[in-house]
Symmetry: C2
Subunit: 354 residues, 2 copies
């Protein structure tokens, strides 16, 4: 699987800590994580000190670190709950980011072998993507496969991959209504494939288990879409769905790819879906407006960087979505502010490096 | 897997016979094929009588049957080689068609169980498709799975499926250059998934192992694109790639879906790829024009049936592709003539039924 050479200094693993005791999480991932640098961002709503086992290279960021960068608490960019990880995306200066929820453990493949999720994400990101024609045998750059008959040769070099979306075994990433309706349903099917999601097709990106090329699409990984009653369970959030569609629109515009499939992680049980229903319906309802918006979003030729694209999208959100629900006004503001933050932090880091 | 009830009288299995002796092929498929009616079309270039074992319900169509329907031999619709199966599509009056190349045998799944390719195609065709938003856990209508968080509820009922494209184990469907470059490469990876190829994404449909809803898309399964040096090996043909893109454009326009993935069939060794190179390069080169044509094809609101759509596409082929290569002139003519044939044969069959 890992057909690429990973340089340790090109990768940051970003963990949003929603629990104080990370011991069992970190021990479960030790074999996979220990050679890389970790950025651990403590949910600013979480009081107390994190418990992290020894033998890892990491930096921890807490509420006070966040405030020192973001400044006033009246900012529309909010790093609480699952969104705390976005602060890690901001302060990293590595090319590749891998982020995995702290209720996940390594999964096993169909042969019973432990899956190295980091290696698979990096392979996905370092090998080309093929968004402009669908290859029926999935990833043509995987060992033992190729482009099938009829695939144009001019498209076979592919394009750079911006985002790698991994999947989940056991507890699947359903919304609260689905989870409440089918409380016993678990995902046990290991599908041994990675594919490029075709250009102009939107997908529900889950932030549970992702990797991305920070240089290509980092500014689009924006914590913009915060529900009024956002909770601390995945099914009570849609921030990742929103930023995922931002990335997809930008990749389509700039000519990068988004992959979905391997690697899997194992998701452990958490939360009460029925209790969450009252929060999650808000997200479910808003998707009916959000999806057509991103599907029809077309960026101008003047937008040549991810930053440009996010700013253009923020203006479109303001114009087309803000009249529908106040949640969109804040999303638009957060997108603009995020790009400002990104530029400030990036220039600080490059001054520091120089 | 087979979660749907298949009515035997709704299905025709169409076999293009490129060999006289079908004994081992039919015996290999007996458990899967024997409850259905078979339409066996003998390649008109193949002299002699077919050898077909007992215990099947079938009709055989030969060169003289083809001529009695198509009339003069100056027709631009040609049913020789792999294209002979299209005659079966024309004379069937069933809702669903399954077609499998006569060099394939049933494959085994990852648990070693024989795959019922017909049941899987019918399941794919009878359950909804989801072309307007990508579901990261693949087919949401499969037992044990669902739509993931963020998937709009308004799109969850899905749309009708027009075409089901199955895959191949052992000899994969590469073109002659790829096959010649990697003569030892075999596909051994069983990917346990069916997915809807998103709207507006084109794919290289292979005719080796397909099922389709004849009522929805039958007229688009057109034997239009015949290479000057077309041969009797799959890698020397592109007729299926062309008709597959016709179907995909039509499904996108009329709001149907195209699925890809399961079922697999096992493809046996045949032919010499290096020998075929001189023929296949023609197809490979033409794809560079064909793919952008179909990608940019937009049908008018007036085109409300598959027949209408094929006629509109034929006009566009004439206008945009004919100047590039004479092979396209014949393709355009064949598309128009095919729709005429389809209407004549269909009305004859319905008169016969009445």
């Amino acid at each position: 699987m890992a057909q690429v050479n990973i340089r340790d200094d090109e990768v940051d693993i970003v963990i949003g800590a929603l629990h104080l005791d990370l011991t069992s999480f970190m021990e479960d991932w030790r074999a996979v994580f220990s050679r890389f640098h970790l950025i651990i961002v403590q949910d600013p709503d979480l009081k107390g000190d994190l418990k992290i086992p020894g033998g890892f290279s990491f930096d921890v960021y807490t509420k006070s670190d966040i405030e020192s960068v973001v400044g006033s608490s009246s900012s529309s960019v909010v790093f609480s709950g699952y969104s705390c990880r976005y602060f890690g995306y901001l302060v990293s200066h590595k090319k590749y980011i891998i982020s995995i929820d702290d209720d996940c453990t390594p999964a096993k493949d169909d042969k019973g072998e432990l899956i190295d999720a980091v290696a698979q994400h990096i392979t996905n990101l370092m090998t080309p993507a093929t968004p402009f024609f669908f290859n029926t045998l999935y990833d043509p750059f995987r060992k033992g496969t190729d482009f099938v008959r009829g695939y144009p040769f001019s498209l076979r070099s592919g394009v750079q991959c911006g985002l790698s979306c991994g999947l989940w075994l056991n507890l699947a990433d359903y919304d609260a209504p689905t989870q409440a309706l089918k409380p016993g349903q678990r995902n046990s099917r290991f599908v041994d494939a990675v594919l490029t999601v075709p250009a102009r097709a939107m997908l529900p990106v889950s932030g549970i288990n992702i990797g991305f090329d920070r240089e290509l699409v980092g500014p689009a990984m924006v914590p913009a879409f915060r529900l009024a009653k956002e909770g601390k369970f995945r099914w009570e959030t849609v921030e990742d769905i929103w930023s995922g569609m931002c990335v997809k629109v930008i990749c389509d515009h700039l000519g990068y790819g988004v992959k979905s499939g391997l690697p899997y992680v194992w998701r452990n049980e958490r939360g009460n879906a029925v209790e969450s229903l009252k929060k999650e319906w808000e997200g479910v309802k808003l998707m009916e407006e959000v999806v057509p918006f991103f599907q029809s979003m077309r960026l101008s030729q003047g937008a040549v960087t991810a930053e440009d694209c996010v700013i253009e999208m923020a203006a479109a959100v303001k114009e087309r979505l803000e009249p529908l629900d106040p949640v969109f006004a804040r999303a638009s503001e957060a997108m603009v502010e995020w790009v400002k933050l990104w530029k400030v932090v990036t220039s600080r880091l490059s001054n520091f490096a120089a």
